[in-house]
Amino acid sequence: MSKKNYKLEARNLNAFYGSFQALKDINIAMEEKAVTAFIGPSGCGKSTFLRTLNRMNDYIDGFRIEGDILLDGNDIYTKEVRVDELRKEVGMVFQKPNPFPKTVFENVVYGLKIQGIKDKKILTETAETSLRKTALWDEVKDKLDKSALALSGGQQQRLCIARALAISPSVILMDEPTSALDPISTAKIEELIYELKKDYTIVIVTHNMQQAGRVSDQTAFFYMGELIEFSKTKTMFTSPKHERTQNYITGRFG
């Protein structure tokens, strides 16, 4: 269908919670090593869509989808796809920092350990590389065996990003990653996203228009389960095609 190779694609995607339709006929294609922002008012389906990209909705009773989601051109909802393998490829960071009640080190290497990797050297090296990538290494290198819950909120969130990076995914999904953080921590995460897009494809859900404008290359505007507009971020913020988009990004509703 497409000449270009997209990293992530949704084709005619419909999603339901029981009889409620949360997503309506979504078609979207996201480029590799770029940041895509999902914006839209609460309940518009953007988080639901984000969570279909690594099948985090699988455990919700009554949730089902129709249509296809393609990762590197392969449908991720076929029977052959193992969810744990998919999630190694598509990492996720959540709204509220959610480190495990374990040490900083144990947090970072959790993903490796559950894959059965026990080699101390590999674990230590991966922990350091991942923490360096999130600019956390200097702050926590002396606290690796301290509880992750003792870190500040911003540090915890960067730890959660490091934890996601440790299993070397190619895509990182971020569900409002800074909504629980102070402005300085938020700025650090935004810088980090900028750095990370050199190596990773990033999809970020945000309620913060400025954030979407700052960090993303393309933006998708969702409303009532529909994808209203999808374009280059610059284009969307300067000359949106739809009136609804215009109203939302200028803060007239939402």
Partner: protein
């Protein structure tokens, strides 16, 4: 008197009433304890703990009874804990919200309220007769396991429920399976709650006499049980037996045995409180 004064007076009156209610329970318990200790404490010595039962009150001891109680404790733990925790984990983490699940849930809660003697009858028939275990330790432990299973299942579920969704999400998002998430995150985080529940359920099991009498545990066992298939007695049965004797000396024996039984339950409850505090401090969100 103004309305304000009336309200303050009512407030005060309720406070006094509340204090009174709180203390009634404690005072009765204290009187009971003091009475028991005054009567029995002097009877407790090494011989009392290491003597076999006897027709003569002064020579009778609780050796067989506390060894039996210990056996029952250990066997019941081994049987009931894995079953109860596994069932709790299944119901909370795995089972879908179906009508069947709701039905199971309601009935497990109901089972926790069934009188213990009914479990005794069930145990006698099922373990004693059908499985041919008679009045053995194993039959007793199986019966008590049934008795405390609902409590363990319910407390396990409560403890697991208290683990935030976000921890499970984090684990799943890193590619963990349901089992890995349960084993590595959910169970450790709820360990304190689960332990508290099962220890409290054990201390209930330790105090039970009725179901064990029904399955045929004996009051007079002139030997110490050495295997799960041996016949046995436990402290509550020994106490029951002694209190029904006419001789006053046996009542002193009973008081002494009650002190030992209370000690065991206090220790168990103490461990439960300790674990709860320790794990609550470690895990905070």
């Amino acid at each position: 008197m103004t309305n304000g004064e009336k309200n303050r007076l009512k407030d005060k009156a309720f406070q006094v009433f509340g204090v009174f209610c709180t203390f009634i329970g404690l005072v009765v318990l204290a009187i009971f304890l003091i009475d028991i200790i005054m009567e029995g404490a002097s009877r407790i010595d090494w011989d009392f703990l290491t003597s076999l039962p006897s027709r003569r009150a002064s020579r009778a001891g609780i050796y067989t009874a506390w060894v039996g109680t210990l056996w029952i404790l250990i066997l019941t733990s081994v049987i009931a804990f894995p079953l109860g925790i596994a069932a709790g984990v299944y119901l909370e983490e795995y089972s879908k919200r179906t009508k069947m699940a709701n039905f199971l849930e309601i009935n497990i809660a109901n089972l926790a309220g069934v009188p213990s003697i009914i479990y005794g009858l069930l145990g006698m028939e099922m373990f004693g007769r059908v499985m041919g275990l008679g009045g053995s330790l194993l039959a007793g432990a199986l019966t008590l396991s049934l008795l405390i299973l609902p409590i363990i299942i319910v407390t396990t579920r409560e403890a697991i429920k208290a683990v935030p969704r976000s921890i499970r999400d984090a684990s799943y998002a890193l590619g963990a399976s349901k089992w890995q998430t349960t084993w590595n995150q959910v169970l450790p985080a709820s360990f304190g709650g689960i332990m508290t529940g099962i220890i409290l359920s054990l201390s209930r099991a330790v105090g039970e006499a009725a179901p064990l009498i029904v399955i045929g545990a004996l009051a007079y066992v002139p030997f110490v049980p050495t295997s799960p298939t041996d016949e046995f007695t436990v402290l509550p049965i020994q106490i029951f037996n002694w209190t029904s004797r006419p001789q006053a000396d046996f009542l002193v024996n009973a008081a002494a045995a009650i002190i030992i039984l209370l000690l065991i339950t206090f220790i168990l409850n103490g461990i439960a409180v300790y674990l709860r505090n320790k794990w609550q401090k470690r895990v905070k969100w």
